[in-house]
Amino acid sequence: MDIRRDLLDMPLIGADGEPMGRVDGVIASYTDGRPLRLVWVEIGGATFARRIHPRLERWTRALARRFSPSRGRVCRIPLSAIRTFGKRLKLRDDQAAWPAQVWERWLRHKVVERIPGS
């Protein structure tokens, strides 16, 4: 697997076809003498910001800790939770990407549903 081509920035789709964000980062483990092993993919504003500039990541993390409904919790999905790879990465179940949906749900319940006609 080519991480840049096949994993990073690819869209994640829940079991029911719901968009779950994109792979903003990957986490690999390394043990002496063994090949690099991909363990998790990360979704989140701070991870995305890190790829632009480390300072932007610090700011984003600080803002998320203060204002995000998840209190800045990073969404990490084990690679084993991804059922299919390809143009879209399909998850086995939506639970794995639950934290990535926290803003969507919070804004829906706290803001959008309170506006008439939503």
Binding site: G21, R22, F48, I52, V111, V112, G117
Partner: protein
């Protein structure tokens, strides 16, 4: 019949690209100050817009992806962030100009100051986005946008000299270095080749569920839609050249003269209606285009055909954009200066928006055998080169010529 109706997407895109306050003002200023001499810039902009919208539609129909999706996937976080920043900031300025244009059209109709119209106008735009499905916006703006045909009728009515117009279609240099001439040339291209146009058209193709079967319809839609806008922008320039010669337009109150000097009082109302619907179409288009870009880049749920509660981040993003855009109107910013600045800055970010498009159009993983051929690539390279030249000269010209 269904494929014929796709033309509505082309006309909506075109109304937002060619017949909004930016294009109307720059074409009028060009015609009034330089006669037919800048007509070639409108023609060049139209050809570029046809080519680029065809590419954007082909990309989405074949790959079943929007440009926003592919931008993030293919180029990663940094390039995506840079494009969002560049296109986003300039588009918010253009949105401010469009909302102000909409408020000005309402002031011209009612006599009540445009600043007081800021909030009702912003609410109207938001309400259309909140309640309207994509088809309603598409067919509504495309249908009402036909009022702008009055510019074409006016162009025939003023009976312009054919040879002079034909000469205007050939690129010409001013007799002596003239910053204003080039500033208006850059502004016209900036007003025509707005990057949000292509992101919007690409998303519209997905909203309308285009597939590879729509490729030939896409060619017709892009050509008819952009020609509709280009011919009308040219007509604005021609009429301004005939009825407002040697006039420097620096006050929006002078804008309706372009039609009222041809049709009298009816012309005034036709102008007000054209400006109103053009700015409304552009405001809807820009707001949606930037929202689409963000939603697709971060893979949120998106679409005008969803209920608002089904796409919370999508609807709140367009809500925030309208709220930011209307601040320019409420602050009473000079509409013409804001328009000219926004168009010059749009020209400055063009290479940033167009270079990824050119690379994507050659990526066979997305397009297979429908990737760009040598002709489309040659044309696209010329467009990117022109956009690079525009980027270099637009800022100094904005200071010198604006």
């Amino acid at each position: 019949m269904k494929r014929l109706l796709h033309v509505a997407l082309g006309i909506l895109t075109s109304v937002g690209g060619f017949l909004e306050i930016g294009s109307i003002v720059t074409a009028m200023q060009a015609g009034a100050e330089f006669g037919f001499r800048l007509l070639w810039v409108v023609a060049l902009g139209t050809l570029c817009a046809i080519s680029l919208t065809e590419m954007a539609g082909r990309f989405s129909a074949v790959s079943q992806r929007t440009l926003g999706d592919a931008l993030r996937e293919r180029f990663g976080a940094r390039v995506f962030g840079l494009v969002v920043l560049g296109v986003g900031v300039t588009s918010v300025l253009v949105l401010g100009a469009e909302l102000t244009g909409l408020a000005i059209a309402t002031e011209l109709a009612t006599g009540v100051s445009f600043r007081l119209w800021g909030l009702p106008i912003a609410f109207l735009v938001w309400l259309i986005l909140w309640k309207g499905k994509f088809g309603v916006i598409e067919y509504g703006v495309a249908g009402l946008g036909l009022v702008t045909l009055s510019f074409l009728v006016a162009a025939f009515r003023v009976d312009p000299p054919g040879p002079a117009m034909a000469a205007g279609l050939l690129p010409s240099l001013p007799a002596e270095p003239d910053g204003r001439y080039w500033f208006l040339a850059v502004s016209i291209l900036g007003a025509t080749l707005t990057p949000y146009l292509f992101y919007f058209y690409s998303s519209g193709a997905i909203e309308d569920e285009w597939t590879i079967a729509e490729l030939s319809a896409n060619r017709i839609v892009a050509a008819v839609g952009m020609l509709f806008g280009g011919v009308l922008a040219g007509a604005v320039l021609v009429v301004a050249a005939m009825v407002m010669p040697d006039m420097r337009i620096e006050d929006y109150a002078a804008l309706p003269l372009v039609l009222s000097r041809v049709f009298g009082r009816t012309g005034f109302w036709l102008f007000v209606a054209s400006l109103w619907i053009g700015c409304l179409g552009a405001a809807l288009e820009i707001t949606l285009a930037i929202t689409y870009l963000l939603a697709q880049g971060y893979n949120w749920r998106w679409g005008e055909n969803l209920r608002p509660r089904e796409a919370a981040r999508f609807v709140l993003t367009y809500t925030a954009l309208v709220a930011v855009g209307v601040c320019f109107t409420l602050a009473g910013v000079d509409a013409l200066q804001l328009t000219n600045l926004a168009m010059a800055l749009t020209a400055a970010v063009l290479p940033l928006a167009l270079s990824p498009l050119l690379l994507l159009m050659n990526d066979r993983r997305y397009l297979g055998r429908h990737a760009n051929g040598w002709l489309a690539n040659g044309f696209a390279v010329v467009i990117v080169a022109v956009s690079l030249a525009l980027a270099v000269v637009s800022i100094p010209l904005a200071i010198a010529g604006g």
